[in-house]
């Protein structure tokens, strides 16, 4: 099992992990399993300002294109360039080498869920 300690989650299935004054963002295991094979990501550029809950980019799987949302606000500090040639990393390791962006100058979002709350949220969805 990947180490999810310290991660928080959005209802749109992104995760964020804060480490000092930077935060790493990706999508959850549930999200990647729902999307299926990821084939392309349209991502912001370094320096761009994102709002908490604002549109971060687009993730495309074989099945469909979906919007990505930023769980916290901040300035884009880094983008995972590896995903250009290996979008499948998002499927293979969504909490590790499938990370999507890093943010700095973070504006926190009190609406995020902890792991237990997120797991309950996903369970509620699959039984709906």
């Amino acid at each position: 099992m990947p180490d999810l300690s310290g991660m928080r989650f959005s209802e749109s299935h992104e995760w964020v992990k804060q480490d000092g004054d930077t935060a790493t963002v990706g999508i959850t295991e549930y999200a990647q399993s729902q999307l299926g094979d990821v084939i392309y990501l349209e991502l912001p550029t370094v320096g761009q300002q994102l709002d908490a809950g604002g549109r971060l980019g687009v993730i495309e799987s074989v099945k469909a294109a979906s919007d990505l949302y930023s769980p916290v606000g901040g300035e884009v500090a880094d983008v995972n360039q590896e995903l250009t040639d290996h979008p499948e990393y998002v499927n293979q390791d969504p909490y590790g080498k499938g990370w999507i962006i890093k943010l700095r100058a973070i504006k926190d979002n009190p609406k995020l869920l902890d792991q237990k709350a997120y797991d309950d949220f996903v369970k509620g969805k699959s039984h709906a």
Binding site: G36, D37, I39, Y40, E60, V62, K63, A64, A65, E88
Partner: protein, 362 residues
């Protein structure tokens, strides 16, 4: 409203294999088992196993009028309406007893049945000979075995000599001791067979193929891979690339027509040809990494000129591809166009179809 979907006789097999299921044309079908990318590669490089039991089958008696297709042959054909629009695309099998088997799209099988019944000569009164058409789709299972290793695999499970079964031909035989109609057809661009058998034998056939195919690297493949495979092979998908508002000439399916013979829709198709076609289906190769999708606009110098009918990544070729309707004047290979992807013009180039041809066709 309660949405219900029918289950094929292989439903339990898919669940056992961990498939993600989806409703397709009123049937609960496997979308993928492991990954569409992996299943796609398995079919291109080894052999994939498909449940195609959702496809409809209609049984037609010989009306003694229609020109006879040679027994044992399969013909890809279109049903057209009076306006020349495509009602469905079908495979016609000329059976030994003089009748035909029509294999039709799952979502169209009841509509096709009604359509054929309404147009059959026997329903006109004179020369009435009772039912000429039966809907047998729910009695038959269909299993696709596709890929470079498919022919060898099926040959190991049958005493019938498969080398003599040409592309678009079929024989009756036994595979894994299951009575089958063994058809050298497919919707992937690879060599292989489609095996028709009775519902109650389907699971036995499926398991035998999976077991015997282990040495070949066989894997089950879902509808996701089926779609990316058929797109690479330039095969049209009914409902995406053509419908009852599309005529066969626009869809680039002229080769299926015998315009010197009488058929429903011929006059309208001849008139359309005379007027000149307003649009035509072409292949597009994307020149950047954007993914073209069904319904996206096609642009020429920023102006909308057409629409994408199917598009996706091509796992085999390593770039993104689409089929699209564009004006005939823009249909020449190497014409530079663009696809409107979320408001941006993604560059694309017209290429000839199919995108992919298997290396050593037999």
């Amino acid at each position: 409203m309660v949405v219900t979907a029918e289950r094929t006789p292989l439903y339990e097999e898919h669940v056992r294999l961990g498939a993600q299921m989806t409703n397709f044309g009123g049937w609960l079908m496997p979308l993928q088992y492991s990954s569409i990318r992996e299943e796609h590669r398995t079919v291109r490089e080894a052999v994939g196993l498909f449940d195609l039991s959702h496809m409809g089958e209609l049984r037609l008696k010989d009306d003694g009028v229609a020109p006879r297709l040679r027994t044992g042959r399969v013909q890809y054909a279109l049903l057209c309406n009076e306006h020349g629009g495509i009602v469905d695309d079908v495979l016609v099998y000329a059976l030994r007893d003089g009748g035909y088997l029509l294999v039709v799209n799952a979502g169209n099988q009841d509509g096709d049945f009604d359509w054929i019944k309404a147009h059959a000569p026997s329903s006109a009164g004179e020369g009435h000979r009772g039912d000429t058409i039966l809907n047998v789709g729910r009695d038959w299972a269909l299993v696709g075995v596709q890929g470079p290793k498919a022919v060898d695999l099926v040959q190991r499970l049958t005493s019938s000599e498969l080398g003599g079964v040409k592309y678009y031909a079929f024989i009756e035989g036994r595979v894994a001791d299951v009575a089958c109609l063994i058809s050298r057809t497919g919707y992937t661009g690879e060599d292989g067979f489609e095996l028709f058998c009775g519902n109650h034998d389907a699971a036995r056939l499926w398991r035998a193929l999976l077991e015997e195919g282990q040495a070949d690297g066989i894997g089950p493949a879902g509808l996701g891979a089926r779609d990316t495979l058929r797109l690479e092979a330039g095969m049209r998908l009914y409902g995406n690339d053509m419908d009852d508002k599309t005529n066969p000439l626009e869809a680039g399916l002229d080769w299926t027509l015998s315009l010197d013979k009488d058929f429903v829709g011929r006059d309208a198709i001849l008139r359309a040809r005379q007027r000149g076609l307003g649009r035509i289906l072409v292949g597009l190769r994307m020149l950047d990494r954007n993914i073209p999708r069904h319904g996206y606009g096609v642009l020429k110098e920023g102006q909308p000129v057409g629409v994408v009918s199917s598009g996706n990544v091509s796992f085999t070729l390593g770039y993104n591809i689409a089929m699209a309707y564009v004006p005939a004047a823009l249909a020449e290979p190497q014409t530079r166009l663009a696809v409107d992807v979320r408001g941006s013009a993604a560059p694309a180039e017209v290429v000839s179809l199919p995108f992919y041809k298997r290396p050593h066709p037999k």
